[in-house]
Symmetry: C2
Subunit: 359 residues, 2 copies
Amino acid sequence: MTTANLETAAPDPIRFVGQTDGHLVLIDQTKLPVELIHIECRDVETIWEAIKMLRVRGAPAIGIAAAYGVVVGMQAAADKPMAEFESRFDEVVEYLAGSRPTAVNLFWALDRLKATFAAAKESGKTTAEIHDALLAEARFIHEDDRQVCRAIGRHGAELIEPGNGILTHCNAGGLATADYGTALAVMFTCQDQGKEIHVFVDETRPLLQGSRLTAWELVQRKIPATLICDNMAAQVMKEGRINAVITGADRIAANGDSANKIGTYGVALLAKAHGIPFYIAAPISTFDLSLPTGEGIPIEQRDPVEIIHGMGKQTAPSEVQVYNPAFDVTPAGLIAGIITEKGVISPVTPENVAKVVAG
Amino acid sequence: MTTANLETAAPDPIRFVGQTDGHLVLIDQTKLPVELIHIECRDVETIWEAIKMLRVRGAPAIGIAAAYGVVVGMQAAADKPMAEFESRFDEVVEYLAGSRPTAVNLFWALDRLKATFAAAKESGKTTAEIHDALLAEARFIHEDDRQVCRAIGRHGAELIEPGNGILTHCNAGGLATADYGTALAVMFTCQDQGKEIHVFVDETRPLLQGSRLTAWELVQRKIPATLICDNMAAQVMKEGRINAVITGADRIAANGDSANKIGTYGVALLAKAHGIPFYIAAPISTFDLSLPTGEGIPIEQRDPVEIIHGMGKQTAPSEVQVYNPAFDVTPAGLIAGIITEKGVISPVTPENVAKVVAG
C-alpha cells in the first residue's frame, strides 16, 4: 500500500506508513500548485485538521483519510483495557465525524470501521487484534478505491484514440481519490498504455480546481496539458482540437442525469454543438437510484465572496448581486457514455443504468 | 459638454471643463471597481500616461481623450507665433500617437485634428482661432460618439420587453465610449424609458472586464444586476432567467461574422441551445467590409500570466501550457440581429449588412 507509483513520478495523494503504530502522509492540497507539501499525521488531531481545512478533499480521499484517522487515533489507547479502548474508539469516531459534517464519504467510512470494531469484538478479539482489524479495513477501503479508479481508467481509455485532444473540467483526479481519480484515470491510463493524448483543462471558476489541481496532476505526470479559461472551451472545440470531453460527477440519477461542478452542463452543450462526445467518469457509488431524474438534485449556493473577491483581491463592486451555484445538472441526452468501474454505460438510458449499476 | 448626466447618478467617463485653456477629467479605470478616482489632466503628459496605462480604455474613449489631449497640449504654445505653434502641434500629435500605438481610434482622432489644423491654417485663421477649431473638433468627436451610443440604445431597447433578463459579456459600456456605450446603451435606455430589466454579467476571464467595469456601471446606475462566472451562463439560461443576450463587437465582417472578447462565441452557442436571441450592439465604424467573412480576422494571443497568475496570485503550475486567445468570432448564423446607430440589421445577411452600413 505504501509503494510509490512506479509508472509515473506523481506522488501518492494518501499513504499510510507502517502498522497500527504507523502514520498517515497526505499532500496538503491547499498549498498546490505552488508548493508540494506532505503532512505527516502522527495524531488524530492533525488528520481532523487536514479534513476540516480541505488539505485533503474529494469524497473518496476524505473517507480513506478518516479511516486511517481512526487507526492513528486508537494508538493512544493501544495498551488499555477493552472498556477504555472501546470508549476511546467512540470518542475518535465522533471527533472525526465533526471534521466535515456534510461529507457523505466521511460517515460511510466511519460506519464501516464501526462495523469492523463490533464484529471483531463480537468474535472475542483482543484490543490489539481489533486495532489490526481496523487498519486492515482502512487499507481495504483504500485499495478498493484504487481498484475502482484503475478500472474506470481502463474502460475509459478504450474510448480514446492515439493523438486525441481531451477536454476536462474541474478536478476529477488522483488528489480526490486513492490513486488515479475518475476522469483523469482515463488520461493516466492512456499514458500508461503509451497512447499519446493532449489534455485541455478548464480553469473552473470560481475555485479554480482545474488550474490548481488538474493542471498540477497532469504536469506531475508529464502529460501534455493546456490550461484555458472556462470561456475558451468553445473556441478550442471550433479549432478541432478536442475529440472527447470527460468530467467527473458528484451524483447521478437513475436516468443518467449527472450533477457535477458548475460549468459542466455548458461544456456538454458546447460539445454537442461541435459533434464531440461528452463522457462522465464516475464510480458506481455515485449513482443515486432513488432519484428518477436530475430534477430532484438540489443545487447548493456558495458564498458570493468567491466571485467578488476572486483570489483574495476585490474584483467586483461589493454592491452587485451574485449568483454562485456550486453544481449544475447535465441531462442524460447530452452524455455519450458514463464510464464506471463495471464498464461504459452507453447509450445513457434508465435501462442501461439499471443493468450496469445492479449487475 | 460638461453637464452631468441628469438621468442617472453615473459620472461621465470623459469630461472637458472650460475652453481652450480648460482641462480634461477622466475616470481612472484601473482603480475600478474598488475606488472611483477622477484624474484632472492639465497637461498632455498626464493624458499620454492615462492612455498608456489603460486608465482610459475602449476604442472611442481613447480617441476622444487623445483629441482633447491635443487641445491641452497646445496650451503651452497658445501665445506663440504661427511657426512655433505649428511645430508644437506636430510634436503633441506625434507624442500622443506613441501612447498606445495599436489603438486604431487614437490615430483616427489625431488624423481628424490634423485635418482641422490644416484647414484652419489654410483659411488664414490665427493661432488662437486654430486652437478654438481644435477644441471644436474634439467636442464634435465626443458629441458624435455620444449620439451614436444613444441611437444604438434606442434601437436596441425596442427589442427588450419589460421584465426581461439580459445577459452580457465583457464591457461594452459607457467607460469605453463618450457616454452610454454599445451593449450597455440598450440597458441604460431601457432604464430611461422606465422598462424594468435584470442584467446578468459574465465576469469575463481572464481580465474580468465584466466584474470590474460592467458590474460597476450597472451598480452606479442602480440597474438590477447579477454577476456570474462565465461557466454559469448555461445554468442561468436553463433556469429561464435570460430573454436576450447582448454583447459588443470589435470588428464585424461583411457577412456579419463578429469578432469580440473571448467567450462571446460560446455564449452565442449556449443562447441558441436555449432558444434565446443573441444580439451584437456596435457602431457602423466597427464594420470592416474588406473582410468577406470572419475567417480573415486574426486572433491575438495574450500573455499566459493572465491565466496562471489570476489576480496577482499564482493559481496554476508554471510548467503548464496556456492558450489565451483575446477574441473569438461568432458566425453570423448565430446572431439574431446587429444593433447599430442606423437601426437593427436582422436577419444578419451580407445584403442587409451592406444596406445598413452604406445607407
